[in-house]
Symmetry: C2
Subunit: 374 residues, 2 copies
């Protein structure tokens, strides 16, 4: 897994495609749909995948697909229940999620994909993979269905109570994502708040906006655009929307809920009369492609950024296709070395206030690395 050391080490390291550990036991439709998704990721997307979970169950499902030879299985006897939250990570060291993290730490895998409970996966992977040097808190990044190049929202729920300095880091985590996954060179960044004029919003947002405005010039580069409102989320105004995990999670679920509500209402309207029904027949294909666009499964899931290893959390109700998409996202992020992007952004000329805070927060979690400058 180690490349030849040379002058361009950061570019030449690990030329082989990343290995993705898929948590076969997480999600409402586990393990059947998860295993099927892993097979799809290997056969249709050409990715390198491991399945982690109860060997006998996984083997039986792989045999059904005739894929026993294509995907290695790593046994894990335990798994996190869907309702389990943060404490689960301590209680279940032999869960499929915990075993997957161990594979990443050992260098036997590069990324984890799970459709398990968000709280459980966030807690398990934060404790077992640890945050990258200098990163205050890992954050959940999701893509909003805005078209070709999605808008990324950070944090979508990992940190219900955030500090202004964390929001500044969330901006950089989001920028690293936009650069790695979508090739955006100078990501436009906005802070989610309640008005377009400067100074609008709660204390957290106002202070984070000041800090971002003061440090946006970089390096690392970022095109800071100030305030973004709820109705701008799908309007492609920025590449990265920064928010705390409480507001971000509510906004994300409001968007998802409203899209589902609207599609149902459209369906009802289009089949409300004979004439309308006849019309709907003529439009079946157009509506189906629209529904797919709004369907959260067409996006890969939420990426937990800032840890020593790539973690992608698929929707709990993911089916095979959703799992395969999550594997693709994990591959893109890990293969694009998002970790190095984040390290560069967080470590390059950290403003004093941010650096001090980075050292004082959770000192037990990091070694001497956080004082290393480049």
């Amino acid at each position: 897994m180690t490349g030849t050391p040379d002058a361009e080490a950061s570019v030449a390291r690990r030329p082989s495609p990343p290995i993705i550990a898929v948590d076969a036991m997480g999600g409402d439709n586990a393990p059947a749909e998860i295993v099927r998704g892993a097979v799809m990721a290997v056969r249709e997307l050409g990715l390198r995948v491991l399945l982690v979970g109860r060997r006998s169950e996984i083997a039986a499902l792989l045999a059904e697909e005739g894929a026993l030879r294509d995907i290695p299985i790593v046994h894990a006897e335990d798994n996190l229940a869907m309702h389990e939250g943060a404490l689960a990570s301590w209680r279940r060291p032999r869960s499929s999620a915990a075993v997957s993290c161990r594979l990443i730490r050992r260098g036997d895998a590069d990324a984890l994909v799970s459709a398990g409970s968000t709280g459980g996966i966030v807690a398990t992977s934060t404790v077992r993979l640890r945050t990258q040097p200098g990163v205050l808190r890992p954050a959940l990044a999701v893509t909003l269905p805005t078209g070709e190049t999605p808008t990324i929202m950070v944090d979508a729920g990992a940190n219900a109570d955030a500090k202004p300095e964390m929001l500044v880091q969330f901006a950089h985590l989001g920028c690293a994502y936009a650069q790695t996954a979508f090739g955006v060179r100078r990501p436009r960044v906005g802070v989610l708040t309640i008005g377009s004029e400067p100074g609008k919003g709660n204390k957290l947002v106002r202070r984070a906006t000041e800090l971002l405005a003061a440090t946006a010039e970089g390096p690392p580069a970022m095109d800071f655009r100030g305030n973004i409102e709820g109705h701008d989320l799908l309007a492609r105004k920025v590449d990265v929307v920064v928010t705390d995990g409480h507001t971000g999670n509510v906004a994300l679920k409001s968007v998802e809920g409203t899209a589902a509500f609207a599609m149902e209402a459209v369906h009802a309207a289009l089949t409300s009369s004979t004439a309308a029904k006849a019309g709907a027949l003529l439009q079946r294909r157009a509506l189906r492609s629209l529904r797919e666009r709004l369907d959260s499964e067409t996006y890969g899931g939420a990426a937990l950024l800032g840890l020593n290893g790539t973690v992608v959390i698929a929707h709990g109700d993911s089916r095979a296709k959703g799992v395969a998409r999550a594997c693709q996202l994990a591959n893109d992020l890990s293969g694009g070395r998002i970790g190095e992007q984040i390290r560069r952004r967080v470590h390059s000329r950290p403003p004093n206030w941010l650096h001090r805070l980075a050292q004082s927060e959770a000192p037990g979690q990091r070694g001497g690395e956080q004082t290393e400058e480049r």
Copy 2:
């Protein structure tokens, strides 16, 4: 304006329909659409309306409609600009909004309807009408388009930084709204947060949930349902959604933005091919009625609750129909005496912690009334 004093004074007082002062100068389409909306409110809805603003402009517009004799004009030489915020209320004592508040204080009107900037109207009316005894902060209540009986969300943006005790009061303000405008006897209340399990959410939400759970038994009665998530907003799970103004405003605008986005996407999908276009012709009526349902103008606007007088803030881009709907809402709330409902809810057996807080907050704003018990 005063009724006969008798034993049932609180029921028998003011039997005549409320008088609504319409701010003719507020909004993107003021004064033309505002005046037209006022005429519609009088002629089609049978409401009692005053127009407040520059007399000559209003008179000319009323003359066009042949309505000069139907609607009295109260002159106000100044008006708030759409971009003006909180300070505007101090700077412009002769604005149409300020003059409207004076009419309410004097008893010459019962309610204010304005399509002016939310920040400006909230500040102006809070300073000039003052909060009801015991109310910590006025809050913006909006209705979400969930069908026959809408779900009410409080606060939708008046208080970006809130305290747990305020959220408890927002719940009661919302219950008073649901009872007054929609006749809901025991409103179901939920707190907007980021998970369905108890204990999910930020510190504010967790503490407010504890307080609500401890005091929900009442009186005043409320059916407290615990956590509500973003995707539940349009699902009619509760009658009242409680949240701080930051989260609420972001959620509201996310819903509005997504609904608009979905309708545009549906339109594009339905006209993407000849077959689809032919289908769309057959469905024109069904789609139009759906669009109206999702259109924010079909709901009356945001109600600012907790002041000595009813205030309804219509969308800034309201046209005549939206203004007329806002007048209808103001009429329903004021005619249903929402102020008394709120007073009863806030004053009846206030828990000690709430009562103490009520007395310590902004003591200059209230007289001795807040110690009065019933």
